[in-house]
């Protein structure tokens, strides 16, 4: 079957994925990334991904399954490409998605490369998503497609939209057809020690999920610069204690006394101002996305209908996609959407197929 490397996070998903591949007859090598030194920010609880305990768990599972296991130190690239990106995005008044970035640059970048160097034909991860090779014969060239995981509640395709054709030819998602419940059952059946391990959705490098304190420690000057809160008409409504504590759609902490509740509409970095408004003003008809990656086809040359997700847990909204200059995309929603946030990922679906996705630049 050949040699396959598995990105083992120490969690039940990647652990089960490793066991499945070994059962199928692959020569499996477990790789756990060391991404962040979690002792450097003092104590605190971290999201489950690549902490020392996770590395330990992954190694023990590898021992249990009977596969070699290596820890791949990627602290420097992670700091530069994920953590610095995270901080920079906030400083630009955007809300970043570091997990997409980690998948893009670290997992399918550095780690995939490491897998190749180890002579593996592919890198497998425990993502709930599916890769399918669409081979229409002589009509069109072959193309890899990305589909949602069969368990729609666990589907993680949203985080994978940057994956390229070349990467897809060397990536496996063994859990794509399974439900989370099935995976846990299988883990228990195999007696994997992590079968009962709980999940965590928090960001792996931020202690206690307190991103504000994280930013404050790194950029204290910028973080606590007070400024004005104005409404769309330009009227000053109050003061904020530092732009980066706020995110689009946020209501708490504005300290505005007004007859209607007010929400953050926009972060104006240049003038260190927050634009706030009523709930109706949070709605937008469309958005512009940049840095777009197309999966189902090489590029967008005409309008296309799609279901667009603007957050991970967003149910998706029907829209029409228009190609813009420079590879950007205009998304026009059938029904206005709430809290379209620059910096977040907009992912375009048709059914369970991921057409592609991009990074939100602005709401329209």
């Amino acid at each position: 079957m050949g040699r396959v490397a598995v990105a083992m996070s120490g969690g039940v998903d990647s652990s089960t994925a490793s066991a499945i591949l070994k059962d199928e007859g692959y020569e499996v090598i477990g790789l756990t990334m060391h991404l962040w030194d979690q002792t450097q920010d003092g104590k605190g609880t971290f999201g489950r991904c690549c902490s020392p305990e996770d590395i330990h768990d992954a190694r023990r599972v590898a021992d249990q399954i009977g596969i070699p296991h290596y820890v791949i130190n990627l602290r420097k690239p992670f700091e530069e490409e994920v953590v610095d990106y995270f901080v920079e995005e906030y400083l630009r008044g955007r809300t970043p998605n570091p997990c997409v970035r980690c998948n893009d640059r670290i997992k399918f970048g550095y780690l995939l490369r490491k897998a190749e160097e180890l002579g593996a034909k592919a890198l497998a991860t425990g993502h709930y998503a599916r890769i399918e090779l669409d081979d229409p014969g002589k009509k069109r060239p072959k193309r890899y497609l990305l589909r949602r995981g069969r368990d729609l509640n666990k589907d993680q395709s949203y985080f994978l939209f940057t994956i390229t054709q070349e990467q897809m030819s060397k990536v496996f998602f063994p859990l794509g057809e399974k439900s989370k419940a099935e995976v846990r059952k299988q883990a228990l059946r195999l007696g994997l020690r992590v079968a009962q391990k709980s999940e965590s959705q928090e960001i792996c490098f931020i202690p206690d999920d307190d991103y504000r304190r994280f930013m404050e420690t790194r950029k204290p000057r910028e973080f606590s610069k007070p400024g004005e809160i104005i409404n769309r008409q330009g009227k000053v409504m109050g003061l904020h204690r530092g732009l980066y504590s706020y995110t689009i759609g946020q209501r708490r902490g504005l300290g505005i006394s007004a007859p209607h509740p007010h929400y953050v509409l926009e972060l104006d970095v240049e003038r260190n101002r927050i634009v706030a408004g009523r709930e109706e003003e949070l709605m937008a008809q469309g958005l512009v996305a940049g840095g777009v990656n197309w999966i189902s086809f090489p590029k967008l040359d005409r309008e296309v209908e799609a279901l667009v997700q603007i957050r991970y847990r967003h149910p998706g909204a029907p829209a029409v996609l228009f190609p813009l200059e420079g590879g950007k995309v205009k998304v026009h929603f059938t029904i206005p959407q709430r809290s379209i946030t620059p910096g977040q990922a907009a992912v375009f679906y048709q059914g369970d197929e991921v057409l592609g996705g991009g990074w939100i630049e602005k709401a329209l």
């Binding site: 090598i29 130190n73 990627l74 602290r75 420097k76 490369r113 190749e116 160097e117 180890l118 002579g119």
Partner: protein, 392 residues
């Protein structure tokens, strides 16, 4: 799949004679050496024997040899021990930039405690400039701690000259000889060394036992206080089986010294030749001749040492990059960087260290397997592609 172990500088297997010598002392002769009854007395005799054997290997007197828990403890004891004992006389310590972390981190610890430490730089072969050493010694200098031979490159330091200089200035000289003991001749009647540290598991004895040579009259504050064992230098009930093991290992090292040395040199030469004959762009790190007979540190240009290591592991070959204690860090070895070796070249280094049980077949297997791994990694290396296209 064949397994070849080429990481003897990280650790060595216990010699069969050593294991055999240790066995009676777990259940049959298990006494506490400090007890006055038969159980203690019987064991005390063997303890004294073992001490004599270690002393004989170093041409020292048994009174000058004490046993510790490991080589790292010996280093700690020597450095902290002298620092605390002589801190009223002065607070300056001299060492090098290429010491093992057991010495390096201990010095850093003392810096935080208010001591001043000079870290002497090394040249491209990994050796210090003796003149720089001479100029660094001042009135407040109480200790010079410089390794006998480097664990990563094998480079051997001029211990005789360093010792003479230290003695001339009345400064205590400690040497971490953990890699050198058993591989190089050490005669402490000739060498002007005051304290010498050694480790069992580099000498075909088990892990968890070390020893320290302390020249008579040297002042040293103990690290571990308690029942007064080891002449009040290092408390703790003596680890008899392991001490016996170390004694036996020392005896064997002395007995087989010449044979081992020749064997290692021949194998290393075969390995080195085999590699450079089949693989281009390979660089030796360390002094070409003043080097431990078993150590070969090579940089394979244009690829990453870590990838090479993992690939070799998958083929059953055990080597290391950087020292064992620091692997898992992406930074290339501090030793190679201190030698002025450029980052990418240091990053592409691996260390092969032979042992007494390696055979020609082991070496030939490595020489057969290595070239195709290196070529495969170079084929997907952007650095290599650039180089290849440049030379077209």
């Amino acid at each position: 799949m064949r397994r070849v172990y080429l990481d003897h500088n990280a650790t060595t297997p216990v010699h069969p004679e050593v294991l055999e010598a240790m066995m009676p002392f777990f259940q049959d002769q298990f006494g506490n050496a400090s007890s006055i009854h038969w159980a203690g007395r019987e064991v005390k005799k063997y303890l004294d024997d073992a001490r004599e054997k270690v002393a004989a290997l170093l041409n020292a007197t048994p009174e000058e040899v004490i046993f510790t828990g490991c080589g790292t403890e010996s280093d700690n004891m020597a450095i902290k021990g002298v620092a605390y004992a002589l801190q009223d006389k002065g607070r300056h310590i001299i060492t090098t930039e290429v010491e093992h972390h057991a010495v390096f981190h201990t010095c850093q610890f003392l810096e935080k405690a208010g001591f001043e430490v000079t870290y002497l730089p090394v040249d491209s072969d990994g050796l210090i400039d003796l003149e720089k050493l001479r100029l660094s010694i001042k009135n407040q200098t109480i200790l010079i701690t410089i390794m006998f031979a480097n664990n990563e490159t094998g480079t051997v330091f001029p211990v005789q000259e360093i010792g003479e200089m230290a003695r001339g200035k009345g400064v205590i000289f400690h040497t971490d000889a953990i890699q050198a003991v058993g591989k190089l001749p050490i005669d402490l009647k000739q060498l002007p060394v005051d304290i010498l540290s050694l480790s069992g598991h580099k000498l075909y004895a088990p892990k968890g036992i070390g020893a320290q040579y302390i020249r008579a009259g040297t002042k040293l504050t103990s690290l571990i206080h308690g029942g007064g064992q080891e002449r009040n230098r290092r408390a703790g009930t003596e680890n008899i089986p392991y001490i016996i093991g170390l004694g036996k290992a020392s005896e064997i090292a002395q007995r087989d010294f010449q044979g081992r040395r020749e064997h290692l040199l021949a194998l290393r030469e075969r390995l080195h030749r085999g590699i450079i004959n089949r693989i281009p762009h390979v660089k030796l790190n360390g002094h070409p001749t003043k080097r431990l007979p078993n150590t070969l540190n090579l940089s394979f240009l244009y690829i990453e040492g870590e990838s090479l290591l993992l690939n070799l592991d998958l083929e059953g070959i055990a080597v290391s990059s950087g020292s064992a204690c620091t692997s898992g860090s992406l930074e290339p070895s501090h030793v190679l960087l201190a030698m002025g070796i450029p980052h990418e070249i240091a990053q592409s280094a691996i260390r092969l260290s032979l042992g007494w049980s390696n055979t020609q077949e082991d070496v030939d297997y490595v020489v057969e397997v290595l070239p195709r791994i290196v070529q495969r990694l170079r084929d997907i290396s952007p650095l290599y592609q650039k180089r290849v296209s440049r030379s077209k």
